[in-house]
């Protein structure tokens, strides 16, 4: 997930007036997961 994609997702949540912090954290976790996959895959 690129920086722009993450921002777009977050913007979308703001516009939907999403207040559930767990959903935002989940989005960041997903971004983190994709970074991890990328880094760990590169290393392997």
């Amino acid at each position: 997930m690129s920086e722009e994609e993450l921002l777009a997702h977050l913007e979308n949540m703001v516009k939907k007036r999403e207040t559930d912090s767990s959903k935002i954290n989940k989005l960041i976790d997903n971004a983190l997961k994709s970074i991890m996959e990328e880094v760990l895959h590169d290393e392997s």
Binding site: L6, L7, V14, R17, I28, I35
Partner: protein, 646 residues
């Protein structure tokens, strides 16, 4: 023309169903005395228009709940009876039909929703209702000029701000983890160096141990031989002890048997002496016969003497009897028949003769007893001599046998002693060999064993340290989400995440400010339009300044120039006017799609001139924005509620 139809039941003062229709583009006055249900009507509309589909008033966290409580459409802990529902009912019902759509809000007394409308918007609590309890007027009455909530809470700015805060929290977490990853990465490098050094040390110790074990194998052979010799020696010692015991037993038996022989010889000797001391049987027989003959002669002689004495006695006794019978004192001597003899003398003679006969009888008896004694003595001696003879023979036979039995003892003992001597010689040789092996192995064995133990200890220590280092290495992993990641990779991952979060934070901060600025601009523009529409000449400028504080500029009291007006110094009527302007601007800025503007208990508080201006303004507002404005108005003269289209 579009109508809106409201139906309420068990809401506020309305226990029974109450329905009313409104039309867009009109201003309505709800008139009535105190407690006639004016405010209940406003609350019913505010409730159904603001409650969310979840049934809660969640506007910007607890702000919505607070506003709902202020406006009395939700019971609070302080005032549990001050909710929407009638005090005597368990449920209240509000139905609203607008633009052909029907909405229902069915709620329990405690505020628990049962049925909720689909498109209620909590923003209505802050934008669509003006009363003494609405936030705008509360703030003006309290002289607070900070209205940043208008650009924060009602625009997306606050949401962007909240998101920015959440992103910053995540960033802080990621930064902490990133710093930890860096520290752990350095730690890993140091630990890996230590691990390599320990592995090298262990390899060297193991090499040394292998060399030592080779040497130790040779020593072990010698030790094995030493132990075998020792074992053999112990076995031979046991065997020697057995022989010693056997010799001791032989000696003891030999002594015992010799003692038996000596005892028998002693008995034999005493028997032989006794036997010799007893005369020969023939001699004893001859002596006995002689004694018997001599004894018989003596007895015969005594018998003759007794007969002679008896003969005399036999003469004297009749004579004495006759004398007694004849009673005479003298008579002729019966023996000699020549002389006389008196009775006394005769009696004495008779007594003497009787005594003599008794004496003879005693002597005969003695002789006979002696004869019998001698006969018995002879018999006993004869029997004893014969027995002794036999016993002597028996003892001699026994002695012969005993001597036979001990004859081989010396040779047996000698044989055993020879065997023992040989054993002892062997033991001595083994002892020498054992001593020699012991001398050879003892020092070397102990030293080798100690050295090997020391190396083993060293290896154990190194392994322990290795284990600790390996554990420490494992513990350097950083947990990201549900995975343990090596620190160098964690560092890279977190760096990328931090970049992304930074990007989002910067953009969101920017967006929050942008939304604030836009909201303020729009709000200020609406205020400006309201002022122009209202035609309040003295209030020339009302706006939120750059710090989002309320800025009021008015014509000076002398009618010239402009002065900045502090909220605290505003009159009640001015405060109400500004509140109306701000509330109208809020509605237009944020919630123009909801065609309701509710005013509760404000109109009568304006002075007469200002009230007319306000009503005219509201009428224009309803027409221009095609909305329904409902305002309550106190009228103690009315017996019941009256709704009047203005």
């Amino acid at each position: 023309m579009t109508k809106a139809k409201l139906r309420i039941e068990n809401i506020g003062g309305f226990r029974k169903p109450f329905s009313i229709e409104f039309e867009k583009g009109y201003l309505y006055f709800v008139e009535g005395s105190n407690s006639s249900g004016k405010t209940s009507l406003i609350k019913a509309l505010a409730g159904i228009l603001s409650v969310s589909s979840s049934g809660q008033f969640e506007l910007r966290s607890d702000r919505g709940i607070l506003e709902a409580e202020h406006l009395g459409i939700k019971s609070s802990e302080k005032n549990p009876q001050e909710g929407l529902v009638n005090a005597h009912a368990e449920f209240g019902e509000i139905k609203l039909e607008i633009d052909g759509n029907n909405y229902t809000y069915y709620v329990k007394k405690d505020g628990t929703p049962v049925v909720t409308p689909e498109n209620g918007n909590e923003l209505f609590l802050l934008t669509g209702v003006l009363s003494n309890d609405s936030r705008v007027l509360r703030q003006l009455n309290n002289g607070i000029d900070d209205f940043s909530w208008i650009v924060d809470d009602l625009s997306l700015a606050k949401r962007y701000g909240e998101y920015t805060d959440m992103l910053k929290t995540r960033k802080e977490d990621a930064e902490r983890l990133y710093i930890r990853s860096k520290q752990k990465k350095n730690e890993v490098e140091s630990l890996k160096k230590k691990l390599d050094a320990l592995k090298d040390a262990r390899s060297f110790v193991e090499y040394e141990m292998r060399q030592m074990e080779k040497q130790y194998a040779e020593i072990e052979e010698l030790i094995k031989e030493r132990e075998e010799k020792h074992s053999e020696m112990e076995s031979k010692k046991n065997s020697a002890r057995e022989i010693e015991r056997s010799i001791s037993q032989l000696y003891a038996e030999f002594e015992r048997k010799k003692e038996n022989i000596a005892e028998e010889e002693k008995i034999l000797k005493s028997f032989q002496e006794e036997y010799t001391s007893i005369p020969e049987i023939v001699e004893m027989e001859q002596a006995l016969e002689e004694l018997i003959t001599e004894n018989q002669e003596k007895v015969t002689k005594l018998q003759t003497q007794r007969e002679r004495t008896q003969g005399v006695l036999d003469l004297y006794l009749p004579a004495l009897n006759s004398m007694d019978k004849m009673n005479i004192s003298q008579t002729k001597c019966p023996l000699c028949e020549t002389g006389s003899i008196d009775s006394e003398k005769l009696s004495k003679k008779i007594e003497t003769l009787k005594k003599e006969i008794d004496n003879i009888n005693g002597r005969i008896k003695q002789h006979l007893m002696k004869r019998d004694f001698k006969k018995r003595e002879f018999r006993e001696k004869k029997e004893r001599k014969e027995w002794l003879k036999e016993e002597i023979g028996n003892i001699k036979d026994e002695l012969k046998k005993l001597r036979e039995r001990i004859r081989d003892f010396p040779s047996r003992i000698s044989g055993e002693e020879d065997r023992l001597e040989k054993k002892r010689e062997k033991i001595a040789k083994l002892k020498e060999k054992y001593k020699e092996l012991k001398r050879k192995t003892e020092t070397v064995d102990e030293e080798a064993s100690k050295a090997l133990d020391a190396k083993e200890e060293e290896r154990t220590r190194i392994n322990k340290e290795l284990g600790a280092v390996e554990t420490a290495l494992e513990e350097t992993s950083i947990q990201i989400l549900d995975k343990l990641v090596p620190p160098e990779k964690a560092e890279r991952i977190l760096l990328i995440l931090l970049e992304k979060l930074d990007f989002a934070i910067q953009n969101f901060s920017k967006a929050a400010n942008e939304h604030r600025r836009k909201a303020a601009r729009r709000f200020n523009q609406n205020i400006s339009e309201m002022i122009q529409k209202l035609g309040f000449e003295k209030l020339v400028n009302i706006r939120l300044n750059d710090e989002y504080r309320l800025y009021i500029e008015r014509i000076g009291d002398n009618g010239e120039g402009k002065v900045i007006q502090q909220i605290k110094s505003l009159s009640t009527s001015e405060k109400l006017t500004i509140a109306l302007i701000l509330q109208s601007a809020l509605r237009s800025t944020y919630l123009s799609e909801i065609p309701f503007f509710l005013i509760d208990g404000i109109i009568q508080d304006f002075d007469e001139d200002r009230r007319r201006e306000v009503i005219n303004y509201l009428k224009r507002l309803t027409t221009e924005e095609n909305i329904i404005v409902i305002a309550t108005k106190l009228n103690e003269e009315l017996p019941s509620i009256r709704i009047q289209e203005v």
